[in-house]
C-alpha cells in the first residue's frame, strides 16, 4: 500500500496506509502502552490504555484500532492522556490483589510496568477486593482470577493462534471471568501460549509457579531438544549445589526462528535435566554382572583398553557405533571421525526419522530449493503431504495456521488421517495409508494412479495453478518416492521443499555422516580424498553396517564392540537383549535406559541444554546452542569422545584441531598481517568467546566442519549472534543411489511425547496422564 505521512508528537512519520497507529508509532520508537493489543491477534479495543489524541476527533482514540491516515496529527503522551491511562490503571488495581511479592510475573509484569510509569499509587477505595481461589486447570495451566485484567490475549491466542478455542469469557460486567472449556479444567494442547501472552500473573505454569523470581535466574537462549523444528527457548537457570538447574523454559524475547510460538515441550519438557536419578558416576559391569560406580579414570581406561584390544584383534569392522538425534553437529561429526579414523570402522548409524539422503540426492545440487522454517510463515501456497504437524511439528503447525490466517496463504493437505490442519486447508484430500506414492503419480498427470473424483481433480488443478509452491513432506516419503516427489515438484514453476524428520538434530545427524556409507556432507565413503587430506589418516572405504545389520552381526557374534552415544536403540528397535550378550557395549547417556542397562560401561552424559555447539533443524536451519545448565558429574559427549580417543592412544590434536586457527568471516583471518593475532584475541574477548585452545572446544570442530562440508559454509558471525543460518543444501552433490535400504523409523511422537527422553520428563508424563484420550491434541481441538 502507498505510504502516508502523519505527525506524532511533532515528529513527521511515514508508514504504509492501513498500518495501525500503535504499530506505526512503535516502528518509530514511540511506545504506546497496550494490554489488549497483541500483534497478529484480532483487535479488541478493550483495555483503553492506548488512547491518544488525534486532531479533529472529539474523544481520545485507541491507537490499536486506528489506521494511520494522510495528514493525521497525533499526540501520544499529553497530560490528558497520562491521566486517562492512570485512571484506567487505578481501576484495574482496585480489585487487583497486588500480591507482587509472591507473584510469578513480578518483575516481568506489564501491569507493574504501567503502574510504575503512570503512578497510580493512591488507593481510592475502602471496599475489600474481590477474592477467588487460584484454580488448577491442567498440569501446565493455573489461573489466578483476581490478577486477571481481562485483556483476552489468552482467549485469542488459544483460538486464533492455536485453533484450540479452549478459553472463553463467562458472565458479564464485573463478574466477567476467563473460563476453560472443561468447566473447571482444560482440555487442550497444553502449549502454554496463553500463559506466555498473559501480561500479568493470572495464568501461571505448573512447572514454574512459586519457584523463583525472574531476576534470580540467568537467562540463556538455546534450542529446544525435542522435535525437529528447532525452536529457540530461553532457559531460566539458577545455581544449585550440584550444578546449575533449569527452572523454566520460555520464549522470552520472541526473536527465534519460532517467532511467537513455543510448544509445551520447548517450555516445560526440560525437567528431565533436573532429575535425581540421573547418572552422575561412570558405571562398569563387574564379574558378578552388577554395575559398580567407578572413577572416571578407571572407567575411561577400561573402555579404551577394551576397544583398542578389539580393534587390534578383530579390526574396525568388528566395532559398531550408534549416534544420536539430539547431540550437536560437532559431536556427531566428531563421533564419525572417531569411528572412522580411530576405531577404523564405517559401521556407524543413528535412528533415522527421515530419508535426508534420498532428499539430498533427489535435489542433487539444485539451488534455492529448500525452505527454512521461517519460509512456512510466508509461502503463498503450501502442499503438506503426510505427517501430522500438530503432533510432530508444533511450530510448523503454528506457522501454517498463522500463514493461512494472516496472509491468506493457500494450504493443501493430503493425508491418510483427518489431521487437524485440514481445518486450515483450502483443500484436503484423504488418501489410503499406502497411497502416498500413487498420489505423486496422480499429481504428476497419471490419472489412473488413484481413484480420482471431483475433489482429487480440483486438488490437483489448484496445485498445478500455483505459481510458487512449498512442498512439506513427512517420512511417509522415502527413497524413490522422494525422487518422484521432487521430480513432480520441479515440474511446477517454482517449488521449494522441506523434509520432516523428528528430533532436534535428526537432520544434523545425517548431514554429519552418522551413516555407514556417507561421510559428512553426504560424501560417499569411497570418495574420501578430501577427508583423508584433512585428517591425515586413512579411512575405511567400503560401506559399513547399518543399524539393523549391526544388531544382526551382534547376534551372529560378529560385532565385538558397540559404542552407543545418546541413543536407546534397544527400546526403539525392540532389540532382544540376548543379541548383545557377546558384544562389549559402551553407552553414554543421562539415564539407565534399556540400552544402558545392557552395557559394560556407562558414561554419564550431559544433555543438549548442558553444552554448546550447533544443531540443524529438519529444514536445514543451522543454529547455535548455548550451555545453560550443568550437573556435577556428567560430561558432554564431545568431551567423552575426546577422552576415549586420548586413552586409546590417539592424538587429540588430530581429532580436534584446536589452536589451528579459526574460521573467520568477521574480518581478516589471524596471522595474515602483523598484529592480527592480537586483534583476533581482542575480538574473541569482545564477543565473549573462548580462544580455541582446548581439545574440548567444539568450535574447533565447527571450524573443521566448515572447511570440509560446503553446505555448512554459513556466516559464523550471524550464527553466533543467534540467528539461524540456512544450510546451503545446493552445495550437496550426491548421485541418486540405485537402491538404499529403507531404515527410516518414524518416531511417531504425539504432542506430549518425545522418544526416550520424553519418558524422563515428569511434566510430560503428568500431561499424558491427565488426558484420558490417547491423542488429546486431536480430540481437544475438534
Amino acid at each position: 500500500m502507498a505510504d502516508v505521512t502523519f505527525t506524532v508528537d511533532g515528529k513527521k512519520l511515514t508508514a504504509p496506509a492501513g498500518t495501525l497507529l500503535i504499530d506505526a508509532c512503535k516502528n518509530a520508537g514511540i511506545e504506546i502502552p497496550a494490554f489488549c493489543y497483541y500483534p497478529n491477534l484480532s483487535l479488541q479495543a478493550a483495555c483503553r490504555m492506548c488512547v491518544v489524541r488525534i486532531e479533529k476527533m472529539p474523544k481520545l482514540q485507541t491507537a490499536c484500532t486506528t489506521p494511520v491516515a494522510e495528514g493525521m496529527v497525533v499526540q501520544s503522551e499529553t497530560d490528558e492522556i497520562k491521566q486517562a491511562r492512570k485512571a484506567t490503571i487505578e481501576l484495574l488495581l482496585g480489585n487487583h490483589p497486588l500480591d507482587c511479592p509472591v507473584c510469578d510475573a513480578g518483575g516481568e509484569c506489564e501491569l507493574q510496568d504501567m503502574t510504575f510509569k503512570y503512578g497510580a499509587a493512591e488507593s481510592k477505595y475502602i471496599e475489600i477486593k474481590q477474592h477467588r481461589e487460584e484454580q488448577q486447570w491442567s498440569p501446565v495451566v493455573y489461573f489466578d482470577r483476581p490478577r486477571c485484567i481481562l485483556c483476552y490475549r489468552c482467549v485469542r491466542v488459544c483460538g486464533e493462534g492455536m485453533d484450540v478455542w479452549a478459553l472463553g469469557v463467562e458472565n458479564r460486567g464485573v463478574s466477567s471471568v476467563i473460563a476453560p472449556n472443561g468447566q473447571d479444567h482444560l482440555n487442550c494442547e497444553e502449549c502454554g501460549m496463553c500463559i506466555d501472552l498473559c501480561p500479568v500473573g493470572a495464568l501461571t505454569s505448573g512447572t514454574y509457579r512459586y519457584k523463583t523470581r525472574p531476576w534470580e535466574m540467568n537467562h540463556v537462549a538455546t534450542i529446544c531438544t525435542h522435535c525437529g523444528d528447532g525452536c529457540k527457548t530461553t532457559l531460566g537457570v539458577r545455581s544449585v549445589n550440584d550444578g546449575v538447574e533449569i527452572i523454566r523454559g520460555d520464549n522470552r524475547d520472541k526473536s527465534g526462528i519460532n517467532g511467537d510460538f513455543l510448544c509445551n515441550k520447548g517450555r516445560y519438557g526440560f525437567d528431565f535435566a533436573n532429575r535425581t536419578d540421573r547418572l552422575t558416576k561412570p558405571l562398569v559391569r563387574q564379574a558378578d554382572g552388577k554395575f559398580a560406580e567407578v572413577s572416571w579414570d578407571k572407567a575411561l581406561d577400561f573402555a579404551a583398553k577394551k576397544l583398542r584390544e578389539i580393534r587390534e584383534a578383530k579390526g574396525g569392522q568388528a566395532i559398531g557405533v550408534i549416534g544420536s538425534n539430539r547431540t550437536t553437529n560437532e559431536e556427531n561429526y566428531l563421533l564419525q571421525k572417531f569411528a572412522r579414523t580411530i576405531l577404523g570402522t564405517n559401521n556407524i548409524d543413528h535412528h533415522r526419522t527421515a530419508d535426508y539422503v534420498s532428499f539430498a540426492s533427489a535435489l542433487n545440487g539444485k539451488s534455492g530449493r529448500t525452505a527454512g522454517l521461517r519460509d512456512t510463515t510466508s509461502a503463498p501456497a503450501i502442499l503438506l503431504l503426510g505427517n501430522n504437524p500438530t503432533d510432530q511439528h508444533p511450530a510448523l503447525a503454528w506457522n501454517l495456521r498463522s500463514n493461512v490466517r494472516l496472509n491468506r496463504s493457500r494450504l493443501y493437505v493430503a493425508n491418510h488421517a483427518e489431521i487437524k490442519l485440514r481445518r486450515q486447508a483450502k483443500s484436503f484430500l484423504q488418501i489410503p495409508q499406502d497411497g502416498y506414492a500413487s498420489l505423486i503419480q496422480y499429481l504428476g498427470g497419471n490419472d489412473g494412479a488413484i481413484a480420482a473424483d471431483d475433489n482429487t481433480t480440483a486438488f490437483r488443478d489448484a496445485i498445478r495453478k500455483e505459481e510458487s509452491l512449498l512442498i512439506v513432506f513427512g517420512s511417509e516419503y522415502r527413497g524413490r518416492d522422494i525422487q518422484a516427489l521432487v521430480e513432480f515438484g520441479l515440474s511446477l514453476p517454482n517449488t521449494k521443499f522441506a523434509a520432516l524428520g523428528d528430533y532436534a538434530n535428526s537432520r544434523g545427524a545425517a548431514d554429519m555422516g552418522l551413516l555407514p556409507d556417507l561421510l559428512p556432507g553426504y560424501v560417499p565413503v569411497n570418495d574420501a580424498a578430501h577427508f583423508v587430506d584433512e585428517y591425515g589418516a586413512t579411512l575405511p572405504t567400503t560401506a559399513g553396517l547399518d543399524l539393523l545389520q549391526m544388531f544382526d552381526a551382534a547376534r551372529n557374534g560378529d560385532l565385538a564392540a558397540l559404542y552407543v552415544v545418546g541413543s536407546n536403540p534397544v527400546s526403539r528397535y525392540g532389540v532382544d537383549p540376548s543379541a548383545l550378550k557377546n558384544t562389549f557395549l559402551v553407552v553414554q547417556d543421562m539415564f539407565l535406559t534399556e540400552t544402558a542397562q545392557l552395557a559394560d560401561v556407562v558414561f554419564p552424559a550431559a544433555n543438549l541444554y548442558e553444552k554448546a555447539g550447533t544443531v540443524t533443524n529438519t529444514y536445514g536451519d543451522i543454529q547455535l546452542v548455548k550451555k545453560a545448565a550443568d550437573k556435577a558429574g556428567v560430561r558432554t559427549d564431545f568431551e567423552l569422545i575426546v577422552r576415549l580417543a586420548d586413552r586409546m592412544g590417539a592424538d587429540p590434536k588430530k581429532l580436534v584441531p584446536f589452536g589451528r586457527g579459526s574460521f573467520a568471516d568477521m574480518g581478516q583471518t589471524r596471522g595474515a598481517q602483523s598484529g592480527e593475532a592480537d586483534r583476533h584475541a581482542v575480538w574473541l574477548a569482545a564477543n565473549h568467546l573462548e580462544p580455541k585452545l582446548s581439545p574440548f572446544d567444539p568450535f574447533a570442530t565447527l571450524d573443521e566442519i566448515q572447511r570440509l562440508v560446503p553446505s555448512y559454509h554459513v556466516s559464523r558471525l550471524e550464527l553466533l549472534t543467534g540467528s539461524e543460518q540456512p544450510e546451503k543444501f545446493d552445495l550437496v552433490q550426491i548421485q541418486p543411489a540405485a537402491s538404499r535400504r529403507d531404515l527410516v523409523l518414524p518416531a511417531e511422537d504425539t504432542l506430549f511425547t518425545s522418544g526416550t527422553l520424553g519418558r524422563y520428563s515428569g511434566m510430560l508424563k503428568d500431561i499424558v496422564e491427565s488426558h484420558t484420550t490417547p491423542n488429546p491434541a486431536e480430540t481437544a481441538a475438534d
Binding site: L43, Q44, A45, A46, C47, R48, V51, P58, K59, L60, T65, Q83, A84, A87, T88, L91, L92, G94, N95, K124, Y125, I126, E127, I149, L150, V169, N171, R172, G173, V174, S175, S176
Partner: protein, 435 residues
C-alpha cells in the same frame, strides 16, 4: 401492561391507530395500512430517501441521527446481502414507547421495515425484541405470519418483483445488546459485546453485510411519513427536529403514560399539563428528561423544548424520550445509586473503565447512602465518573458516567448530608421513582 392515555395536547401520528385493534391485519389495512409500502414501491428508492430526508426524522433510539441520511450511507452495490435491523431492545429505564408500538401497531413496524428494505435494496429484515418482551414477541410473530399469509411478505411483494422476508428474534435479557453492534453480535448468536467501529453497520453489519439499524419507533414512523409527506411531517416538529415522538412520562406525576407530542414541546408543560403535575401535592425536585442515562435537570431548569438540540443546549439529552419526574421527597443519593446499580449490572464487562468504574461507583455511592461515606468519596465519585466519560468502548460507559456527574454536581449537598447525618436523612416510605 400500561394503560392507554390521551391528552388534547397530543399530535397523533404514530399513535393514530393505538387502541383500535390494529394488531389485527384487516383492521390495520382498514386504517390505511400497507398503503405506504405500495406507494414506496411505485415511486422508487430516490423518492423514499428524499421524503425521509425532508421529514427531518431523527433516530428515536437515543442518538438522534437523521434517518434519511443513515439510509443513504448504505452502498448501492454489495457482494453480501444487505439487512434491515429493527432495534426493539428497549431497556433504558424510564422508556416504554417501543412497547406500546409492538402492542398496538405491530404492522407499522413490519411496513416500516419493508420500506427501509426497499430504500436500501435489502431483501431481509430482522425485528429484535428485548428478552423480557416475550409476550410482545407473540404479537409480533402473529403479525409477521399474517403479513405472510396475505402475501405482503415473501416473494414478489405487491407484485413488485421484489422479495422481502422478516424474521423476529429476542435477546436474552441484556441492556447492552441495544447498542447496535452488540445487537448484531447477539443476533448472530455470540456474546453481546460491541464491535469495533469503523466499519459502521451501514458498510459492514449483520453477517458482514451492509445493514441499516433503526429503533422500532423510528421504523414505525416511516409509513406515516410517506403517507402524509416528509415536509408535512417535518412541519409538525421544531427546527431540525421533524415530527412527533412518543414520550414516556413516569415517576411522581398524576397521569403517567406514553404521550405523542411534537418535537420541541416544552418539558415543563409536558409535566404539568400533559402529565397532570406532581402527584400527592408534592413539589418537583428534579427531572431525568430522556431515559436514565441523561443528566438530571433541577426543578428550575425545565423550561426547555423537548428536541435533540434544545436539550443539548440545556446540558442534557433528549435520549429515548423517557421523562422521569422526581418529587421533593426523593433522596437523590438513592436515586443515583439506583441508576448506577442498573449500569453496573448491565455493563457487558468488555472494557476496563466501564466494567470496573461502574462497580466502584456502585460500591462507593451505596456506602455513602448507607451512611458509611468518608469525605474523599464525593470527589472520588466525580473523579471516577469523569474518567469514564468518553473513554469507554461503547456509550454505555458514558450512559453511566453522565447521570452520575449530574447528580453529584447538582445535588452534592444531599451527598454531603449523608456523610454527616444518619444513613439516609431523606428516607421516606416510598421506593424511589425509577424502578
Amino acid at each position: 401492561m400500561p394503560r392507554l392515555v390521551f391528552h388534547p395536547e397530543e399530535v397523533k401520528i404514530i399513535s393514530r391507530r393505538f387502541g383500535q385493534g390494529a394488531a389485527d391485519i384487516d383492521k390495520y389495512i382498514a386504517l390505511d395500512g400497507y398503503k405506504a409500502v405500495q406507494t414506496a414501491i411505485e415511486k422508487g428508492v430516490d423518492w423514499i430517501i428524499a421524503e425521509m430526508k425532508a421529514s427531518g426524522l431523527r433516530g428515536r433510539g437515543g442518538a438522534g441521527f437523521p434517518t434519511g441520511m443513515k439510509w443513504s450511507f448504505v452502498p448501492k452495490q454489495s457482494e453480501r446481502p444487505k439487512y434491515v435491523l429493527v432495534n426493539g431492545d428497549e431497556s433504558e429505564p424510564g422508556t416504554c414507547k417501543d412497547h406500546v408500538i409492538f402492542l398496538h401497531d405491530p404492522h407499522a413496524v413490519i411496513e416500516g421495515t419493508m420500506i427501509a428494505g426497499l430504500a436500501i435494496g435489502s431483501k431481509m429484515g430482522f425485528i429484535y425484541l428485548r428478552g423480557e418482551y416475550r409476550y410482545l414477541l407473540k404479537i409480533m410473530e402473529k403479525a409477521v405470519a399474517d403479513a405472510y399469509a396475505k402475501g405482503f411478505l415473501g416473494k414478489n411483494i405487491f407484485g413488485s418483483g421484489i422479495d422481502f422476508d422478516i424474521v423476529t428474534q429476542t435477546g436474552a435479557g441484556a441492556y447492552e445488546v441495544g447498542e447496535e453492534s452488540a445487537l448484531m453480535e447477539s443476533l448472530e448468536g455470540k456474546r453481546g459485546v460491541p464491535r469495533i467501529k469503523p466499519p459502521f453497520p451501514a458498510v459492514v453489519g449483520l453477517y458482514g453485510g451492509p445493514t441499516v439499524i433503526n429503533n422500532a419507533e423510528t421504523i414505525a414512523s416511516v409509513p406515516h411519513i410517506l403517507l402524509m409527506g416528509g415536509e408535512a411531517y417535518a412541519k409538525v416538529g421544531s427546527e431540525r427536529n421533524g415530527g412527533t415522538r412518543l414520550f414516556g412520562i413516569s415517576g411522581h406525576v398524576v397521569n403517567p403514560g406514553v404521550y405523542e407530542l411534537p418535537m420541541g414541546y416544552n418539558l415543563k408543560k409536558a409535566i404539568y399539563e400533559v402529565g397532570g403535575g406532581i402527584s400527592n401535592g408534592r413539589k418537583l425536585k428534579a427531572v431525568v428528561p430522556g431515559g436514565s442515562s441523561t443528566p438530571v435537570l433541577t426543578a428550575d431548569e425545565i423550561d426547555v423544548g423537548l428536541d435533540f438540540d434544545q436539550m443539548g443546549k440545556a446540558g442534557t439529552m433528549l435520549g429515548s424520550g423517557g421523562i422521569v419526574v422526581i418529587d421533593d421527597q426523593t433522596c437523590m443519593v438513592e436515586f443515583a445509586l439506583r441508576t448506577i446499580k442498573f449500569y453496573q449490572h448491565e455493563s457487558c464487562g468488555w472494557c476496563i473503565p466501564c466494567r470496573e468504574g461502574t462497580d466502584w461507583l456502585k460500591k462507593t455511592i451505596g456506602r455513602v447512602h448507607a451512611g458509611g461515606g468518608v469525605a474523599k468519596d464525593l470527589d472520588n465519585i466525580r473523579y471516577l465518573a469523569e474518567n469514564m466519560l468518553g473513554r469507554t468502548f461503547c456509550p454505555l460507559g458514558d450512559a453511566a458516567a453522565m447521570p452520575t456527574i449530574g447528580f453529584i454536581k447538582k445535588f452534592r449537598h444531599e451527598f454531603e448530608d449523608h456523610l454527616n447525618g444518619k444513613p439516609c436523612p431523606y428516607a421516606h416510605a416510598e421506593e424511589p421513582a425509577l424502578v
